[in-house]
Structure formats: C-alpha cells, structure tokens
Symmetry: C2
Subunit: 352 residues, 2 copies
Amino acid sequence: VVVAVDANGADLGPAEVAAGAGLASAAGVKVLLFGPAAELPEPPPGVELVDAPVSIAKHDDPARAVRTTPEASIVQAARAVADGRAQALVCAGGTGAALAAGLFNVKRAPGIYRPALALPLPVPGRGGAPVTLIDVGANVETRPEHLVQFAFMGGAFAQAVLGLARPRVALLSNGAEAQRGGPLLSAARAELELALATAGTGATIELVANVEGNNLLDGAVDVVVTDGFTGNVALKLIEGVSSTTLASIREAAMASPRARLGGLLLRPALRAFRDAVDPEAQGGAYLLGLRALAVVPHGRFRRGGFARAIVRAGDGVTEDVASRTQAQLERAGVLRRVPSASRFERSGAGAR
Amino acid sequence: VVVAVDANGADLGPAEVAAGAGLASAAGVKVLLFGPAAELPEPPPGVELVDAPVSIAKHDDPARAVRTTPEASIVQAARAVADGRAQALVCAGGTGAALAAGLFNVKRAPGIYRPALALPLPVPGRGGAPVTLIDVGANVETRPEHLVQFAFMGGAFAQAVLGLARPRVALLSNGAEAQRGGPLLSAARAELELALATAGTGATIELVANVEGNNLLDGAVDVVVTDGFTGNVALKLIEGVSSTTLASIREAAMASPRARLGGLLLRPALRAFRDAVDPEAQGGAYLLGLRALAVVPHGRFRRGGFARAIVRAGDGVTEDVASRTQAQLERAGVLRRVPSASRFERSGAGAR
C-alpha cells in the first residue's frame, strides 16, 4: 500500500507532516511525500520524497488554483493516485483543494453524483467508536439521490475504515417523525427505504429513525447523513459549543482558591475526557466518492494526527473502501445511470 | 398590560404555570389564565382564571387540533388576544400549537410572509445578554425574502424585549465569505444590504459578516438568522453538545477519589456557570410576526421560567415590539406587497 501525501498546508509546516509520514511508514504504510525538499530532512525508509515546493493551500479559489498550477504539491499527489503510483491521497491543505485536485485528477467513481466529506466525530461513551457525519461541506445544495448515495458511502466507510459490522444510518432532521424535514428529506428517506429493500439481505447498512441535533452524539447512530450546508454548520457548532463549555469550566475553576484547587484535582480526569474526544485521533475528514480514498487532516494537527490520517488512508486501501462502496451502491440500485458527468470530467472541460 | 396564558401543556401540570402567573402578576403583569379550574387553586389578585380544561398540547397534528377544538385552552387564549382582552400570548403546550392557534386567531401581522420562532440563547461572557437565533423551527423551507424579514423581526425583538440598542445581525452560513452558503443566502444577503441602504440612517440593525457554527456563540453577534430547518438542528445540537460535555465532566469527576474531591470543590463555581446559561431565564421561544407577541416557554420549565415568559411577553407589549417590527420592515421596504395570504387567513379557509 502506498499513500500519496501532500506535505504543504499544515500550520506547523511541512516538516510536521513529514514527521507524521515517518510514523505512518513505521506502522507499515509506504508514503510518497510531495513537499519542499529544501525544508525537509532526509526521509526515513518507507517514505519517498518528491520535491514539490509549490503550495496552493492558502488559495482563495482552490478549483482555479488546481487547474492553473499543475506543479502544486497537492496536484502532483493527486496525479500519483490517478497514475497508480499510490492508492490513496492525504492532504492537509484544506478540503477545497483536496476536493478540486481529487475531482480533476483522481476523478469521481463511476455512478457517483457527488463526492462528499465524511467526518468521524469522537463521542464519549461509545468505546472509542466515532459517529460519522456526512456531508460536512462538499455540497451546499443536494438532491434526494445525493443523500441516498451519501448514506451508502458513509456506511461503507464506517464499515471498511472504522470497523463497524453493520452501521446504523440516520438522516439528520428537525424531528424524529419521517414527515418532518420537508420534501428533500421525505424523498431521500423514501428512496433509501426502496434501495434497502432492493438490496435485501445484502444490505450492509441499517436505516434507523431520523435523528435530531440533540441525539446526534448520544451514540445510538453510527452514520448521520445531511447536506453539506447543514453538516458544516453542525460540525462547527459542535466544535464551538464544546470549546465554549470547556473554556467556561476552566474559567469557573479560576473563580476562587477553592475552585482552583478543585480544578487542579480534577485535571487528570478531564485530560482523559479530552483525549477521548481528540479530533486528531480520527485522522480528519474523509473525501468519499472518488476512485480512491482521500483524507483531509486539519491544518492545525500535529504529527500524530497526520500519521493517523495516513494509516487510515492505508486501511481504506487494504479494506478496499472504494470498490465496496461501489458494490453496495450497485446492489441497492442507486448508482447514477447516465455517466455524462464522468465523460465531462475526462474531457477536462472542468467538473463541478 | 394583560397577557393571555394557556396553563395546559407543562410537564409539571397546570398548577406550575398558574404559580408562574402568580409570580408574574406580583411583578406587575395582569394575566388571563386559561386552564382546568378544578385542578387549580384560587388565583391571586392580578390573575383572572377562565375554566378551559381541554388541552391539545400533546396532539400530533396541532393545526388540525386547533381548527377542530375551539374550546381548547390555547385556542381560547389566542382568541382573547384577537378580541383585545389581552395583548400577548403565552403557551407552554408546544410551538406547533402556539403557531397554529396564533395564525388562525391572532393572525399574521400585515405584510409579514411567515411568522418565525426566535430563541434567545444564554451565552456565557456577554454580561447576561443572550444571542437570538431565528428561525428555530417554524419554517422548514424559506425564500430569501423570508430571511430578510426574519433579520428585522429578530432585530426588533432584541431591541424591544432584550434591550439591545442596535443589534448586530448575521446570517448563519458554512463560511464567513459572502459567496458561501449557496443561492438562498447570497440572495438574502443582497436583499438585506439593499433594505438597509433603503432604511438609511433609520436602520435599527447592523448587518455583519455571515457567522459559522463555531462563531455563533462567541458573542460578536446579537441575532443569527437562518431557516427553520438549520435553526432547529442547530438549537438541539447546542443543547445536546453542552449537556453531553457537562455529563462527561460529571463522569470524569467520579473517576477517582481525587477527582471526586476536585468535583466537590468545583461545584459552586460550576453552579454559577449553569445559572448563567439557564434556558428558563430567557422565558422560552418567541413567536414573531403575528399581530401580537407570543411566547412559548418549554414544557419542562418550572414556575420561574413561566413567570419570566409572561413578564417578557408583557415587556413586548409595553415596548410595542409588534408595531416597531412593522415600522422597521416598512422603512426598509421589505413588507409583503400583495396581502393575499392575510385575506386567505381571514376567510378561515386554512392558512399555512
């Protein structure tokens, strides 16, 4: 297994990504690393460094930057996957760049309407198993058939990469009743039920009742499906509320000498909680629906998070998440029938 | 000032609402209380009890229940507002019932497309000033002109009822840049900018950059505008994440004798934090865009929360939130021009 890694885009610089690549290669994953050779140390065995100093990580318009900058490290890394020199992609330079580079080079998997971003959210009290939210931002506007595919894509990911036997999948709604949520959700739910009936005993996901915001993290569901607008708002809200709450508690623990002592005594236990919900342990966001798996660790990650992203990308290759997704979508009869978009992309006329 | 209060629908029963009405009347607000006289004690001075034992609070289809149950306490309370016997409505029997009873009896204010639910969210570190999220569930699907009106409705509410001089209003989006969020948000933003330019120096709200989920509660914005689907998901997510985080910390504080002692010492400081974010202190959700203000305290509230809802409803009357909203919408040129929906409602043919 070889994973193509873009070293540019991390807050701590390319050397931190390279250090993560070293850790991942020690764990058995070969890495093809694209980054500025002048800024990086001699790579360890298992990591091959390709000099690619040009970064488009901070570009305003990633789609344009990808088209006009073939020498960019992310574009080179994506081409390595397209050429078969690597089987998965890891990029810390932002989801926009990863999505654009993936669409133009790795290409959409056959029959997939839209790639989607899946984020495994660490949740306390599930024995370490995260809840996967899909889509968290690749598609602001969605049609019912997109949500149906997201459900299977998220399910196959949770199965192949997170190791859940038969993921419980739910749509995110404003009420548990099926008729809430408007026509988009009603249509998506009806199509999903039909697809699962079509798949019959071969169905590898279980569709459960719609979840509301307050149930999203309570552990009863493994994959939560939503459009990229709502998913993005939800994801950032989760980050914001938990950090606001923790900051308020930290402040409360400074309010008096008594509270300060309490905070000090509580600290090791709180650290265990913080570790349990550490986003770096999940490797980042996963771009699903391309011909190969792409992982987008957050730019603020440290080497451990980048290593996890690379190892998880390797797991996706070993477990063949792309073909499994494809097979499950086919069995359920929800692949796109007219492959016009794929032809369009192959012509290079500009996808999305 | 007289506030019509539906006593049915509270988890703790009508007597708890009646106790809240007593507290509110002691604070100077007259109450017309609709509830089961047989279950309620003799009301204190300032509270007039009207026997209305029929409740539709737990009904599946509130719109139908409102139409077919004229004797229901919520319908009688809404009629009292329509007749001028009271000037505002308070109902703990759910937002669906309040919305339906309000639409059929109190009616939409002239030129308003859709009533919306506003929720003042208690936020630590703003000196007690909440952040108002609108819409949190009255309208699953919205058009740009609805969001524009919600912005002014939320602004007028924050000004008249919460006492903010010139509320800062933002659209909730998946990115701070104006072009993110898709066509609905772009159009709403353009219309809002035009409306504020039309209002000129008379504009009573300030439009600031779009907020993302993680900035929603950081205190830089007073009113956050979104569609009822996203708003409802967001609201429940905030509740879910903060209670999950607090529960995890409580659990961490049981992990060892040392942590237990720490938790014990920290408890008073944490109680202050819990009080600062107590939803009962905000009175509940506010239904804006009717001819009178309606407040929907949560069914699980205790008497203090119901009293706050009634007092806030009274403030809305004193500060004339309905006319002020109207005047601001008119000045900005964003009132609905063809009043067909209002005629439709007056004919009783079934609004919404």
